[in-house]
């Protein structure tokens, strides 16, 4: 088990990223077949899966990294992109396009990422292949009392120039913040 000061990535159990890519691809393909190519349903299922994963993943993240409460949304996004994505997917997305009030920004995923590497999707504008990530982010942030809107705006699988997620802070759930933090 890791001690304080240990390198986080060194202590992580690793698997081949292709195995992960293939497993995720298999699930999405089957969902498309099951729902007869109604891609909105597929997106919703992926989002639900992600949400369930996110509410548990946050404990894994906090226990392995020892991150503390962030003082601003900018800091939160920084921790998510520099640590969160690195620890779980071994990628580091870029952050850009901050709004003037500092409450929303875009996360640009690097190409390729472990979910959609070597994937081709059927010609449609409705499927967001990596929708599971939106669910994961929303679920994880809900558990630390942040209400956010997360959606995809661009996807390279659809022919866009980059894969971009828009993240917007709605509100901080002050009532649910645990006692004992100042």
């Amino acid at each position: 088990m890791s001690k304080k000061g240990d390198d986080i990535w060194k202590n992580v159990d690793k698997i081949n990223s292709e195995l992960f890519t293939l497993t995720y691809g298999s699930i999405v393909a089957q969902l498309c077949r099951d729902f007869n190519h109604n891609y909105h349903e597929v997106n919703n299922q992926l989002d639900q899966m992600g949400y369930n994963i996110g509410i548990r993943l946050i404990e894994e993240f906090l226990s392995r990294t020892g991150a503390q409460r962030c003082q601003s949304f900018k800091e939160t996004v920084e921790v998510i992109t520099k640590l969160g994505f690195r620890v779980f997917l071994n990628i580091q997305p870029a952050v850009e396009n901050w709004s003037s009030d500092g409450r929303s920004c875009s996360i640009v995923l690097p190409e390729p990422n472990p979910l959609n590497e070597f994937v081709e999707i059927p010609p449609t504008k409705d499927l967001w292949y990596c929708q599971i990530l939106c669910g994961i982010l929303r679920g994880a942030l809900q558990m630390i009392q942040l209400d956010v809107d997360v959606n995809f705006v661009k996807d390279t699988l659809k022919g866009d120039d980059k894969t971009e997620i828009r993240l917007k802070l709605n509100k901080i759930l002050k009532d649910e913040v645990p006692a004992g933090e100042d």
Binding site: W9, E60, G66, P178, E181
Partner: protein, 172 residues
């Protein structure tokens, strides 16, 4: 430092796990444990209101853990594990002649409470408790979160988790 028992409370203050690691301890009834947990949750919150305001945010003024921004900055720059105890103004520890009690709270509101043997050398025991909490949090994330039969905020009934907690206690 000898571990006497461990309590885990969910964010509503309900007891979800209790384990007497020292077999010589008297067992209370299940109801007593629930009442005890609820009381601790309440006292912890009240203490947060009673604590004098911490002047400024320098890391020297807090007892458990460091300033959050500095912690996160250190975490990002070095990539090394830090301490994630968010318990700043709530009840941190109780020291008596017969036992010591330590409280660790995560960002998600889960509280881990350790009851240990008393020890006059306080600082060392604080660090040991800190280490133990870190390992306990990792065990919680591994064997409870990754249990597909576990429902969030419900009592933990996993034998594997019991086993691992026992092993951790033996190591302390």
């Amino acid at each position: 430092m000898k571990l006497y028992s461990i309590y885990i409370l969910n964010k509503a203050g309900g007891l979800i796990y209790q384990n007497n690691l020292d077999p010589s301890l008297n067992r209370l009834t299940a109801n007593d444990y629930l009442v005890l947990a609820g009381t601790l949750h309440g006292v912890h919150a009240i203490a947060a209101k009673l604590t004098p305001t911490i002047v400024g945010k320098d890391s020297t003024s807090t007892t458990s853990g460091t300033d959050p921004t500095a912690n996160n900055a250190l975490l990002l720059s070095t990539g090394k594990v830090q301490n994630s105890n968010t318990n700043k103004t709530g009840l941190g520890s109780i020291e008596t002649d017969l036992f010591n009690l330590y409280v660790f709270q995560s960002l998600t509101g889960i509280k881990f409470i350790l009851i240990t043997s008393p020890n006059p050398i306080l600082q060392k025991q604080h660090e040991q408790a800190s280490e133990t909490f870190r390992h306990l949090y990792v065990l919680y994330s591994d064997y409870v979160m990754k249990d597909p039969f576990y429902s969030l905020d419900m009592p933990i009934k996993s034998q594997l988790f019991d086993l691992k907690v026992g092993e951790l206690a033996a190591l302390v």
